[in-house]
Point group: C2
Amino acid sequence: MKMAPIAVTPPVEQEPTDKLTVNGIEQGLNQTTPSLLDLQPISNGLSDIITKGAINGTKISNGTATPLAELDASLLTTTYTTSPRSVPAQGSPEASSSSVCTDHMIQAKWTASHGWHAPSLQPYGPLSLMPTASCLHYATECFEGMKLYRGFDGKLRLFRPELNCNRMLLSTNRIALPAFAPQELLKLVVKLCATDGAKWLPRDRAGSFLYIRPTMIASDAALGVQRPKEALLFIILTVFPKMDDIPTGMRLLASKDDMVRAWPGGFGYAKVGANYGPSLVAQGEARGMGYNQILWLFGEDCTVTEAGASNFFVVWRTEEGKVQLVTAPLGDRIILDGVTRRSVLELARSRLTAGNEGLEAIEIVERKFTMLEVEEAVKQGRIMEAFAAGTAFFVAPVSHIHFRGKGLDIPMSEGVSGKYTKTIKEWLRGIMWGNEQHEWGYVVEDEGK
Amino acid sequence: MKMAPIAVTPPVEQEPTDKLTVNGIEQGLNQTTPSLLDLQPISNGLSDIITKGAINGTKISNGTATPLAELDASLLTTTYTTSPRSVPAQGSPEASSSSVCTDHMIQAKWTASHGWHAPSLQPYGPLSLMPTASCLHYATECFEGMKLYRGFDGKLRLFRPELNCNRMLLSTNRIALPAFAPQELLKLVVKLCATDGAKWLPRDRAGSFLYIRPTMIASDAALGVQRPKEALLFIILTVFPKMDDIPTGMRLLASKDDMVRAWPGGFGYAKVGANYGPSLVAQGEARGMGYNQILWLFGEDCTVTEAGASNFFVVWRTEEGKVQLVTAPLGDRIILDGVTRRSVLELARSRLTAGNEGLEAIEIVERKFTMLEVEEAVKQGRIMEAFAAGTAFFVAPVSHIHFRGKGLDIPMSEGVSGKYTKTIKEWLRGIMWGNEQHEWGYVVEDEGK
């Protein structure tokens, strides 16, 4: 079966005037890519890509440049499984193992000589990689994390998925993997969700979700340390545990000098594998000591960056008496530009700066802040709340931070969170699960397959 | 077929008095591991491993601790190929593709519940990994680079292989992969080399080599960001191009502020995948501009760290008139403790500090040095030589460095290198290919299979 033809990008040649269509809206690549990204300036090549209008570059043959094939969702081929997998019961050990995937996956291959090959929807199953595959040696890999929500109104929804697809392009670019039009990735994500959503997120599981993992790996079977000449994009849907409801709140262990997650000029802002593996030793030690995650600090002044693999927020009262929601800025590119982070900030800016639902008005601040400031706020009773925010953890209240031998307790005025945290989380939940109709909710039509 | 039994480590329990045997020499784990490693203090757990004498830790069942199974080369099973692969002609495109592997590979699986399973020697072929495999998402992977040399005396040799096996343990430890006795890895490397050496490095190819790639990847099929519960060690032998003979010398492009390879508290000292992928964009740009590699600088003072994925050396005359061989120190753990680096330093210390073969006496210096110092030495005519040193690049003379818009030429007094570089390289070549009998040459007996 082929997907119904939808408007797609023809290979971009000299003048990048071709139109892309996402969600029915026709968009010029030149104009939309930067605004969709809405991220920090990109240092390596993406500006070139945008300027030239070429996503995949060109190949030279017979003295003339031929554009490489673009990623094109309209070329999708589909092969449905003949061995359907069973959906684990909610709350079962299987359901929380983050190892059970749905019946199908999407794959698309890229080669330096051809560009993107036709993507395929196919039964979920193992990948075959040569032992020399680049991604097994050189961490030439990146991914995204998104969720598919079964709404209380019965609809399937994604949450601001275009931001994830744009960030995936930013990540592939940082790790020397091929570019693509983010809108095409989005179409493939939607197709997989539409195919497996009805069975794996049945209507009687309103309020639940599947985790979506678009991944790109370099599959070159060659040990030379060089830009990959072959890559594989794949998308899977995984049954994933709910991670935001730790009844006692998250307990964080502040990182020590000898473990630094990211550095200016590094890649902390990109969702590349290289940010994760190196954090696991510290994370394992923290868990062994009874903490849930590491609170990653940076530099001699102990600047606060991320909590685990999530962004980190505090709510405190300043010495002057104002209530502030504070999180680290994106400027030095050592933290991830999280979709949940951005959404928290945007909601707070639009709904809390003048007070709301009995809450005092709040100032929204993106700036460098240090553990010494947090410690001072705790000592002076000015700390009000803290939480981690990310797709996997959603909005997870923090109740305790261990910093340099001292335990700092963070209040949870509502029992399982603070007031602002609770309010923001409720708003996000409403949008994700369709209690509030909002432009951030992206409805996916069930194909009921 | 089983390997002939050799003395191996029984599972280490309370008192780590068990003996390990490598190359016929019985060694106490407690004493030998630190001295074999001979590396910087290890921050995460390896000291614990050594102290406790437990390589794999223990599992608790029925209230008693059972040691997990150790990696044990004596348990090796072998299945020889029935479809022998053909050896590419020397100088053919295939031979320089770094994608052709020999007939066999070694694999060993580890699970958190059992420890190490019996290793197997088996036909070379693809790995099957679930799309959720940890190594495809979180860069939970590390490797080693070694060479198998066919000597001018007809013998097969490794070069100081115990150092690579020790460093592999250091790398697995940094990236949350399981520990093992390095001596067991060495036995497996030797076995694979003995099996495929005769055919793939025939006696009429004296002076050539195969590249050995021990690799460990986390193979857990689960998306949770956590310490791997399943891993795969594999060892492959690859036909690899000679990379040290660029007739004009290597041309290096000094990195800019917006691209940092490694940082204090990071993992630059470990051979983990996460050090490589993130360097490829800068490397690709450098190649596009006509440079061979990036010269990685660090910090505002432009400290010199590594060249490409190799260590970097300069020979200069100080303002006081002394000749010095200078390379970056290991202390801040941002550069790799290279086996070639170490060997260059040791040979130079033992053979050049009082002059030799018509060469002026030289001082050997491991210290932080900056590009500003290099630039000053070039301007004042004090720079004498520069070279990159590593297993893949061997000793590769450098003729040019582009730094902040200026090109700095480095002399190559002997045409294709400087005098000291040439002498050190000849000594190393002699040891590797058996022209000099030396304790660093580790002879592997051909099995002629």
